[in-house]
Symmetry: C2
């Protein structure tokens, strides 16, 4: 299940996203016991602990000792809540990176920070990216990357492509890691058993796998664990992340050298 965000009334959504923590002026009626912030925090807590599939208005309400409907006083609906959770989670990311060792080191630091962030909040990867970037922290995250790559001196057109490529790549690679971890915890089996079970069935159903997909078979070879502590699939994900990032940044370096 992917949660499609950014659908509601845009004015209301944007105001909520950018006015977070604004002073609530005293108004008639009972004193509000909750707040948008508290609800967003509870939502993040639910998603962190039980995953995006477990995030329901009832679950969030229950965590706050309220009913689901109580949330609607603060938040227009679930889509908007997810938007707010998404943006708020990104608040924990750095807003700038040290450029002392050059753009490449800084870009790598950005990618690593994102990688670890997605590892802490894998539910973020289930918020559909097919939507506009709108929250302040989301802006800040992209700005922090843009501020790094702009020091290459490349023209704006190139830079937009580069920012997009790095962003998409890190997100995609992080999804592979999330899957590897989900496989481990969901099935209860150890990581390797799970993998072998899958591939065993695959080989049973299609014994000619290696012949049908020779290049993929070839690429399976030559593996060395990046970190022997990590289970097999996760090691894979880390290796692909690091390797892919190197290639990507090589491309940026090539563009810089050509300038």
């Amino acid at each position: 299940m992917v949660v499609y965000a950014g659908q509601g009334d845009p004015r209301r959504s944007i105001e909520l996203l950018w006015r977070a923590g604004a002073v609530p002026e005293r108004r008639p009626g009972p004193r509000p016991a909750l707040s948008v912030d508290a609800i967003v925090d509870a939502g993040i807590a639910v998603a962190d602990e039980a995953g995006m599939a477990a995030l329901s208005m009832r679950a969030v309400g229950e965590r706050l000792g309220r009913t689901a409907m109580a949330l609607y006083t603060y938040v227009p609906g679930k889509n908007e809540l997810v938007d707010l959770m998404y943006d708020r989670a990104m608040a924990e990311l750095p807003t700038s990176y040290d450029l002392g060792d050059g753009w490449r080191a800084a870009a790598t630091a950005w990618a690593n920070a994102m990688w670890e962030f997605y590892g802490r909040h894998p539910w973020v990867l289930q918020v559909s990216q097919a939507r506009p970037v709108l929250g302040p922290h989301e802006f800040a995250v992209i700005e922090s990357l843009a501020a790094v790559v702009v020091t290459t001196g490349l023209p704006a057109r190139r830079l937009r492509g580069i920012v997009g490529a790095i962003n998409y790549f890190v997100r995609g690679a992080a999804q592979a890691l999330a899957e590897a971890r989900a496989a481990r915890t969901a099935t209860g089996e150890g990581d390797e058993e799970w993998w072998y079970a899958r591939s065993a069935v695959l080989l049973e159903v299609e014994p000619d796998l290696a012949r049908r997909f020779p290049v993929l078979h070839l690429l399976e070879g030559d593996r060395e664990p990046v970190d022997p502590e990590l289970p097999y699939l996760e090691n894979d994900a880390v290796e692909n992340f690091r390797g892919g990032l190197e290639v990507l940044l090589d491309g940026v370096a090539a563009a810089v050298a050509r300038r």
Copy 2:
């Protein structure tokens, strides 16, 4: 909403994925009027026409003149149906690319084919990628890319990163396009009005936007429409796709040159 696939009984799922179109042996009981293939086709039709959110077992059943429960005779559940739809849709992609003009041209052709594919079936982008690759056509798609980049002669470790990076990037860029199109059709407004409405609210709520995010503001400049026929946001997505792909392939070229 993102549909999380690949959760059910792995044996059953894999058999369905790889045994598609197998001869159904005659057995007691009424002659089956449906088939897995027919159900998957109906599912794809529903998703193509009305989007992933409209894909329900009842909707698919109705399209076939059956109830929702009739589908469960053929398919274990909705997750598995989505898996099958995902893999079947990919059957329409080429399984190999002409290497006559070198790996770079072929890799670009692969990316373009994927780009157009995602444009035809945007619901595919809502199938969570955080899951194992398992279907034959999904395999074939990755194999076709791997077969291209393997001709660079780079070692397997590098190649895995490259295949991942290209794949993630194209998918991410395609999501931006899907969002741009969804914005246009969902709101009913023309594309530009929609965009201006959003950014107007944004500027109203945060007038200092340009000062808070100076680099992003800077990057907004220097735009030339790739195709003046296309609406603003979609032009943007195309430009970022092409530009990002160039950078990525530059990185591959750099690795090749260094070899």
